[in-house]
Symmetry: D2
Subunit: 396 residues, 4 copies
């Protein structure tokens, strides 16, 4: 794994900001600590896809140059959160201490989030937008990428107000609050001229009205729902059955989650978003609906860790029944954080070269790739590499 440092060094300096929605959560904290640690030479680049030569070929901005800010409804300082993660084995024990000053600096740039139901959303959106503009100006940033890593929301039902930007604007003008929180943040981001990464399965930029807005503002965005564990494996393994003409008879999936993510998903409404995005790929890859339960269970004692068990029953030549099982034991934040940093750099670069709308070439990173029906991991990798090669040629 050679890094892309030399190539990148030659680039004109671009200053990129990252604005986390959910800036004091596990994923944002791990990403922030990680970016600072890499800059300080306290950590390596394992897990950063952007450091692989095929992706670095896009001429990405430097990881060390990122300036971090964000919104959060929690008041626990990011430094404290980092210490808790270190105690749980997610971060190297000494890192939060070593980066205490830098983390305090980030924490000072975190602004209180809005509660989507509290105030008329027109007003709330203006406040969020203003936070983003101030951040960009204050730090002399060329661009700010907004990344939603906040708690998963339930899916929204069909609604005419969300189906058209015109209708949405009129509703906001009437003092209504039709947007789920994730879409409110997406609205503010686009209005502030910021590209977006939707890392959760929440609605975010997906309602049609917001798609129109991104188009109108000439902004790229990426989503949805980071593919970090069980679904990652599913989209690598399902093609084995498809290309070997083996018939998958059932595929059972069990996800045991601890920590914050799990707790949110103990809410049955929120879990609907997750099981929907998780189930989609299998059906597309195998070309038919497959029987079998999919469970997402909150098991408090697992902390930041998750264990997934999948059982696949399949049929081979002459009807012979066979099976595959796997167990994946991963740390959610450690898997998600580097992808978030990769996406920030990739989306910033896409913005720089003028790409607009859902970035379909980034499906590699997502359970529910916006604008694409390609779920096979390796095909997504090929698409990513091809796109990065193109980006690399874009503005020479």
């Amino acid at each position: 794994m050679t890094t892309a440092t030399e190539q990148v060094a030659a680039e004109p300096r671009r200053r990129t900001g990252v604005w986390f929605v959910g800036a004091r959560g596990s994923v944002a904290t791990t990403a922030t600590v990680g970016a600072l640690a890499v800059r300080a030479g306290l950590a390596g680049r394992t897990g950063l896809v952007g450091e692989l030569p095929e992706v670095a070929a896009a001429r990405l901005g430097d990881l060390g140059g990122l300036v971090v800010g964000g919104h959060d409804v929690s008041a626990t300082p990011i430094g404290k959160r980092a210490e808790a993660l270190a105690a749980g084995g997610v971060l190297p024990y000494d890192l939060p201490r070593a980066l205490a000053a830098e983390l305090a600096g980030v924490d000072a740039r975190i602004r209180p989030g809005v509660n989507a139901a509290d105030v008329p959303q027109r007003q709330a959106a203006r406040a969020l937008e203003s936070d983003l503009r101030s951040f960009r100006t204050a730090h002399g940033l060329d661009r700010v990428v907004v990344v939603d890593v906040s708690s998963t929301e339930p899916p929204v039902g069909a609604s005419p107000v969300l189906d058209s930007l015109d209708e949405l604007e009129q509703a906001l003008d009437r003092g209504e609050s039709p947007l789920p929180a994730s879409s409110l943040y997406a609205y503010a981001a686009f209005r502030a001229g910021c590209p977006l990464v939707a890392f959760t399965p929440s609605p975010g930029p997906r309602p049609a009205a917001l798609g129109e807005l991104a188009q109108e503002c000439r902004l790229p965005w990426a989503g949805c729902d980071g593919k970090t564990g069980e679904t990652l494996l599913k989209t690598a393994l399902a093609p084995v059955f498809a290309t070997r003409a083996l018939r998958v008879r059932s595929w059972a999936s069990v996800n045991l989650l601890g920590g914050g993510d799990g707790a949110t998903l103990a809410d049955p409404a929120a879990v609907v978003s997750k099981t929907a995005t998780k189930g989609r790929g299998l059906e597309v890859i195998l070309g038919e609906r497959v029987d079998g339960p999919m469970h997402i269970d909150y098991v408090e004692d697992l902390g930041e860790w998750k264990t997934a068990w999948d059982h696949v029953s399949f049929e081979g030549f002459l009807g012979t029944r066979m099976s595959l099982q796997f167990t994946w034991q991963g740390c959610d934040s450690a898997l998600a954080a580097p992808l978030v940093l990769d996406l920030v750099r990739l989306v910033a670069r896409a913005h720089q070269v003028g790409e607009v709308g859902p970035l379909t070439a980034l499906g590699f990173f997502f359970k529910d790739p916006a604008g694409s029906d390609e779920h096979r991991l390796s095909a997504q990798w090929d698409a990513l590499c091809a796109w990065c090669a193109r980006l690399g040629e874009a503005d020479r």
Copy 2:
């Protein structure tokens, strides 16, 4: 899964023979029963890669048109062997009975194999070659594909006699017997004008002298060592780690095998061939040697079944340690037999359009792809599809 029957129906009838080296073994018996059952409408086409539209695009010969013969040192009739496989749950219970007459017909075409050490190999090769020519003539076949599915042999050491066709011929002329059995069969196949499939890890067509011979005879061949289980999964999963920039720290593999294949591999010399071909892919895909044991154990009670357990320890962002385990429970013959039938049809087609030498586009089927260093399953699939598309256009 749409089948390719309609397309193929329009083709001019080509008559293809299959000649199994090890014709009364589990894999050849299952392949033979399967081909007969599909022809008789007693079985479906699950597991046959050649029936997927991307592969059928090559305009393959019809499965039902295959004529089966072969060599074997065993005298147990193939019908008896089929009954034993049915009793063990590998074949549907009634199939051997339903196909008894056809199986007897095949059995009548099986000729005694040679023991490589018994007679001067010049003479043995002539006898084998004559069997092949007689088979082709007697059944009016356009071509005969020889498939080695006999017991695994130990690797051969370096030897000048195997390094050049000239040297080899002189040694044979001198009455020597320098060839391992699998290479003796390959020699006879090529001399008889037959393309070859090397489905085991035995030396077969790999010594340079035999490569020269294939070239001289303008024959294609495919190999080596069918990728049916644990290695199949490895080459689908290792790219996940590679493309996600995750560092694999160790990869332990345990294979519990029953039946004949297992028994051969209880011989430590033979197992060397197997572990060598199994280990190769991981290193190539991950770009470095990976620690961890690889065991192949013979457990008699497992019969035709095999269970593989793999444990992968890997490191993510900021050094976090995570793991993946999988258990694969498969039936060796049910996995191998359809691939053998696919390879016969693909190699026959390659021969028809004039391809010569190792067919690198068939790496998808093999643990140790001849002429190629591409081990990633999905990249192999893409290469296979591209090649099939080309073959489809070849002689219109």
Copy 3:
């Protein structure tokens, strides 16, 4: 494993009948085929606990002497059902054919079951009771053991009518139908003087009114819910943690079931009975409630097979976190059927020596042992052996 045949041979012949509620279901069919096959010398005694010397010490009646009859609402002959089980790999392929005549004989003794809601239960009970008395008389049986292996019912709510035999009789006299079907069968069994085995988690003999009735009729009974798979392992493994002072932090259980049992349990009301009996043991053994989901999922393609995956997270010295996972792949009927035959012989023997009420020494066989809070498998084994030794001395 020495068998108890010689010992038993010396006993005075006792003629025991088995009356299955659900006589054409998978478990009853497998038990019936098994008993016939053992008698005919077509099968061995693996899986029969009653053949272990410690249990045979009770001087059990001979397996070959059992006469089988039963109730069922299904009309599919037991011979047909046996063939289906053989096709699914649960029974040796040739057994149903070899035993066709005997199976037809059993089938002729199966009477239509009652639908608990159809007729006043006083009348229904009399009909069932009369079936049992006729069976006993017609075959000159010393006793008939009724075994409930019918579909699982939901638990019943508290009800004064089920709490006292007096109240129950008055309700029946008033033409009411207060009993769940399983308890109606238990009522009829006791009234007919038959001891009972409650092999499912249905209410059966557990309501207090039926307990009184068993006492009044001086009858023994055994239950509830055969311990055949995941719970069997749980009650063997939980004591490891308890006696090693390791703290179990979470225990997640996933059961994938096919076939009939699974289909019933797809009904969420019925599954409540099952999860209740499955969960009980763990808490008692570990001395505290343990976090973690318990899933029972119906996966049609699994047929008669079930796969359970359990994940146990535990804490050792100085807070170190460790884990245990297991996967159990079993055939429900093959596991349950021999236990049913064991229980028939044990309960018949208990009846012979005059035991009355719930047989607490039979907890070894059950998920929810009637009359006992001992769930540890080995302690249950010890209790069983001690009881069998006592029975062996009882009437010499």
Copy 4:
């Protein structure tokens, strides 16, 4: 889990010393840190069997009163070793720092070990014996329990010198060195009047000559080879098959070990000791030899952790084949250390009440229980509890 503190408080103070052979290894370090942490109120008592009421009933000495010393050939201070273990997640991160002074105190009591081959063993034994006597006197200890937790040695062949104490003494007098190191330490321990715990599979006190010596010195000893992981589970699970009359057809075991223990076992001679003790129990419990490989593999990256995978193929009623798999992920030191502390307290108590020779009631703790053929974990637990109850009554 109630602790035994109140009971024990009333006992007359006994001062017990622990002398570790291998005092700076992982197990001894973890045990030492653990005992100090419990005393300081910095850690709980999870994992300590001696704190369960059934075992505490023996009236064990207080954990906090133990004085630790030992031999080691390594010079790395125990404090440094503790820090390395904390970095690897085996010990809570802050513990080594918090206990630095106490650990330095222990380290000052560690004496250089002997190399068994270096000097005539008569002289070496005297030096070791003198270390033990000095330790006991210097700290005013009532007794010192020697615990062998050093590296595993190969088994010794038959030798007349090791078969009789007389012969052994004469050989030592002749200046010979016939003892493996573990037996040399056992010799010195007994000569110094110290009871012994053999926690490894090394020969230690097992040669007959040393058994005689223990008898002559009226000393109790316990062994051999702590049962901490895969074998623990085996001896809990094998009785399930035995008591359910299920036939185990094969049992495959794979142990992936990191760290020091693994490294030693990369030596094929040493691994023989381990596989011998590991294999014994299964055969005894099941009453027959069982097919299947047993692997112990060193995988460096696993550090102090071990992962075991077992695959059990078994046969039920009517020959149906089923399987059980388990994966155990544990930390060797965290599992072994509390058992070592339990054994010290139990053996000290046995010494106090005058028990002599191998303590068969301690089989619960060992893979190869000295003086006993009982391997079933629950039967061992029952025996331990009964013995502890007796000890509790011993000297009132």
